[in-house]
């Protein structure tokens, strides 16, 4: 039932560090986070790691296991060969703080740049009416636990630090999509164009839909197919459709010539 496993865990901080070898007991039914906790309680009491719910609901224990972005609490030890050495590193797209803890402030900064839900002016609390089929898409995106694994794996920022200013990342483009699909969002009435924002402020064009965000999502949200591509199509409606462009042009001219 139990066996000794070999682990390599990255230890260090912003000034440097490296993979450290550990031998540790693994029991039946355990996940990688249990092993990290066992290391804390025995070999390395000061090993820094974020975690919270241990059930894949809070999105705190994001890391990279054998080079793949994963939640440590949702990675069962039984998927590994007992003879295998398991490598655990912090997320590699974000600045490291210490050991497995990274500075995820990029995500919080991007979250602030997405204009919030605009409540419709004509409806009071309690008067909102939405049908289940109208909220289904939005609800899928709101399953997001903000583990930021999609942000971590996205090559646009992982491989190009300089793109972090222009690109919001899959999680926050999905937030834009969520608001644009919300049946009662009144952004347009306030003169706010979320589609233009997606292209101009949040860097939707940087996404080349290579789907790594969808692959790593622990909530199995189809980020690319259901959020990013539909958002791209909505941007096409807004910015790249010559018929729409022509229509707008004519309408604007019409308005100018109106008495």
């Amino acid at each position: 039932m139990s066996y000794q496993a070999r682990f390599k865990v990255w230890r260090g901080d912003a000034d440097g560090g490296g993979l450290v070898d550990y031998e540790v007991t693994v029991n039946e039914g355990e996940v990688v986070l249990d092993i990290i906790h066992r290391l804390q309680a025995t070999a390395a009491p000061d090993m820094a790691v974020r975690w919270n719910c241990k059930a894949g609901k809070c999105g705190s224990c994001s890391a990279e296991i054998n080079g793949r972005p994963r939640l440590m609490c949702m990675t069962r030890m039984s998927v590994f060969d007992p003879a295998e050495t398991i490598t655990v590193t912090p997320m590699r797209a974000f600045p490291v703080v210490r050991d497995l803890v990274t500075d995820v402030s990029y995500n919080y900064a991007k979250a602030r740049e997405v204009p919030s839900f605009v409540p419709p002016a004509h409806l009071k609390p309690g008067e909102y009416r939405m049908h289940q089929e109208d909220v289904g898409r939005v609800q899928e995106f709101r399953k997001c636990i903000e583990c930021f694994l999609c942000q971590d794996t996205c090559h646009v920022v992982r491989d190009h630090e300089e793109n972090k200013t222009a690109f919001a990342g899959p999680r926050f483009l999905m937030r834009v999509a969520e608001l644009d699909m919300h049946p009662l969002d009144a952004a347009a009435e306030e003169g706010l164009d979320r589609r233009r924002g997606a292209r101009e402020d949040h860097g939707l064009g940087y996404c080349n839909i290579t789907k790594c965000c969808s692959e790593v999502c622990p909530e199995h949200i189809k980020i690319t197919d259901n959020a990013l591509i539909p958002l791209k199509e909505r941007v096409v409606d807004r910015s790249y459709d010559p018929l729409v462009w022509l229509g707008n042009k004519i309408r604007r001219r019409g308005a100018e010539h109106a008495p």
């Binding site: 490296g18 054998n66 500075d103 900064a109 491989d159 630090e161 049946p183 080349n208 839909i209 539909p230």
Partner: protein, 279 residues
């Protein structure tokens, strides 16, 4: 005081180092630590696409052996040049004059080619397979700069929707071609051969692929904000969504079926093989 909601820009070190080796990130010499065979998928994708490109280039430029009554190769339909083979009852509309001396396939292939080239699935496939951007998840890409589809030329991928409209027209013609497959070589109706089945399978897959397109999904209903006000379009959107979930499989299946259909016609037309007739 740090609150963790403002990015820290104070870290020292070599800021010129790229990506995962940027000075602020965990110091790990290896570019990636994946131990599975992550290269297999992009390699297989590239090989598959390459094989199709080689085959289709040869066939498209050949300009011969594309019609064997009652079957026409999907590469050559509709056939729009004066130099087209005579296809009784078929889609050989000689719109382009005799000045066109190249293979007539080149005139029409632009549309399905453009459709597939700008398709959201194929984009992923060749960005990963040919351009290694990225080769696989959490495996760094080799390029120093990246602007994705935000600039010319890749910003042109946004015209996918218009290729979709053309692809529907082409699929319509191919449907007509498939129907013509129920004739015999003399044009009499009510017959069927192995080629008819090949044509039918091909057109079914072409339609499934075309309708499962992300742009199609957007146009039929995805662009709506409140589905409940458009029950018919919502129903259509749910159907297309089911197909869309299989878009990758349909992309490959229809790619293979087009090549097979063409190859079948080539074999029959060049006399290498006789179309078995059922009735």
């Amino acid at each position: 005081m740090a609150t963790g909601t403002e990015p820290d820009t104070s870290a020292a070190g070599d800021r010129s180092a790229r990506g995962v080796h940027h000075a602020t990130r965990a110091a790990i010499p290896a570019r990636h630590l994946r131990r599975d065979r992550w290269w297999l998928q992009p390699a297989a994708t590239a090989a598959g696409l390459l094989a199709f490109i080689v085959y289709s280039t040869w066939r498209a430029f050949a300009g011969s052996d594309y019609y064997a009554a009652p079957y026409v190769s999907p590469f050559y339909s509709p056939c729009l040049a004066e130099n087209c083979a005579d296809m009784p009852g078929g889609a050989d509309w000689e719109i382009v004059g005799s000045w066109w001396a190249l293979s007539p396939a080149l005139l029409v292939l632009i549309f399905p080619l453009g459709f597939r080239l700008t398709c959201y699935y194929y984009r992923k496939a060749y960005y990963r397979g040919f351009w290694a951007s990225p080769p696989a998840c959490a495996v760094p890409e080799p390029h120093a700069k990246y602007s994705g589809e935000s600039r010319f030329p890749l910003v042109l991928q946004n015209i996918h929707r218009y290729f979709f409209y053309f692809a529907v027209l082409v699929a319509g013609v191919l449907t007509y071609d498939a129907a013509l497959g129920f004739r015999d070589e003399n044009g009499a109706w009510g017959h069927m051969g192995l080629g008819t089945l090949v044509m039918l399978a091909n057109i079914a897959l072409i339609w499934a692929y075309t309708l499962s397109c992300h742009s199609c999904r957007h146009i039929v209903g995805g662009r709506l904000r409140t589905f409940s006000k458009h029950p018919v379009r919502y129903r259509m959107w749910t159907w297309v969504s089911v197909l869309n979930a299989r878009h990758m499989q349909l992309a490959w299946a229809s790619l293979v079926s087009v090549a097979v259909a063409d190859l079948y016609v080539y074999l029959v037309a060049s006399g290498a093989f006789d179309d078995p007739r059922f009735f």
